[in-house]
Assembly symmetry: C2
Homo-oligomer: 150 residues x 2
C-alpha cells in the first residue's frame, strides 16, 4: 500500500489509544465514513425502490450514530478516558481511516458491508439513525481483527 508511510509512526508502535485518539486520522475518517455511507444508502434505496427508480443521495453520518456503534462494537477502549460522545465518534472515524489507509478494507468493501446490514425505511429519520448505527456496529466489529489488542 503506497500510503502507509503516513501511518509509519502509528504502525511502528501500535496501541489502541494512539490510533483511536489521533485527530488527523479522525479528519480523514470523517471523509471515508460519509462517502461509504452515502453510497451504501444510495444502493440500498435503489435496490428497494418501486418502479426501478435510481436514487443517488448523501448523508453526513451523525456523531450519535458513530459513538453508539463504537460502544456496541466493544471498541470503547480505543477512546480517551472520560471521552464524550463527540470524542468517541472521532475514535470510530480514526479507526476507519486507519483501516482504509492501511488498505485492510477499501471504501467499496465498506460500502458492501454497510449495504448488507442496512434495513428498514431510511426515509424516516429515527429509523435511519437506528439502522445506520446497526450497520456501523457490524462494520466496526469486522475491523477488530486488524486492530491491536491493547
Amino acid at each position: 500500500m503506497p500510503y502507509d508511510f503516513i501511518l509509519k509512526d502509528l504502525n511502528a508502535s501500535k496501541t489502541q489509544k494512539k490510533i483511536g485518539t489521533d485527530k488527523g486520522l479522525a479528519k480523514i475518517g470523517d471523509g471515508v465514513v460519509n462517502l461509504a455511507y452515502s453510497v451504501a444508502k444510495s444502493i440500498y434505496l435503489t435496490k428497494s425502490a418501486a418502479n426501478n427508480a435510481i436514487i443517488r443521495t448523501g448523508w453526513k453520518v451523525s456523531k450519535e450514530v458513530l459513538s453508539t456503534a463504537l460502544k456496541n462494537a466493544g471498541l470503547k477502549s480505543f477512546a480517551k478516558s472520560r471521552a464524550d460522545a463527540h470524542d468517541i465518534a472521532d475514535t470510530a472515524e480514526a479507526i476507519i481511516a486507519y483501516i482504509w489507509l492501511n488498505d485492510f478494507l477499501s471504501v467499496k468493501e465498506m460500502v458492501d458491508l454497510l449495504v448488507d446490514n442496512l434495513e428498514g425505511d431510511l426515509y424516516k429519520r429515527t429509523e435511519e439513525t437506528k439502522n445506520a448505527t446497526n450497520a456501523f456496529t457490524v462494520l466496526l466489529k469486522h475491523l477488530k481483527k486488524y486492530l491491536p489488542e491493547s
Copy 2:
C-alpha cells in the same frame, strides 16, 4: 464495476448537463473530494516536513476552489445556465462522483494526481486555496476523456 447500476439512468443517456446537475451525485462527490484532498494534503505535508514528521490532517475543500477549478478546466458547460459559484462547485463534485462510481479513477488515483500537483506552503490559507485550485484544475482536466462531449 458493481455500482454502476446506480448510474444506469445517467449512463443510458449521457449528457454533460445530466451528469453535471445531478444533486445526488454532488452529495456523493462531496465525500470523494474531501477525502481525496485530505489524504493528498497529508501526504504532501509529510513529504515536505522537516525532521521526518508525519502529518495527518483533513480539509473541507471550499466551493470557491471547486468552482474556479471547474471553470479553469473548461468544464463549465456541465453546469446549469445562470449557475452561481455554489452550483458550479456542485457540478465539479458531481463529475468527480460520476468518475469514481464508474471506476474510471479510484480515490487513490485521484490522491496521486492531487499530490503531484500540489505546491507551496499549504499552512498559509490563501496559498492553500490557490494551490488546491490548481491541483483540482489538473484533476478535472484529466477527467475530460471519460466525459461526454455534449
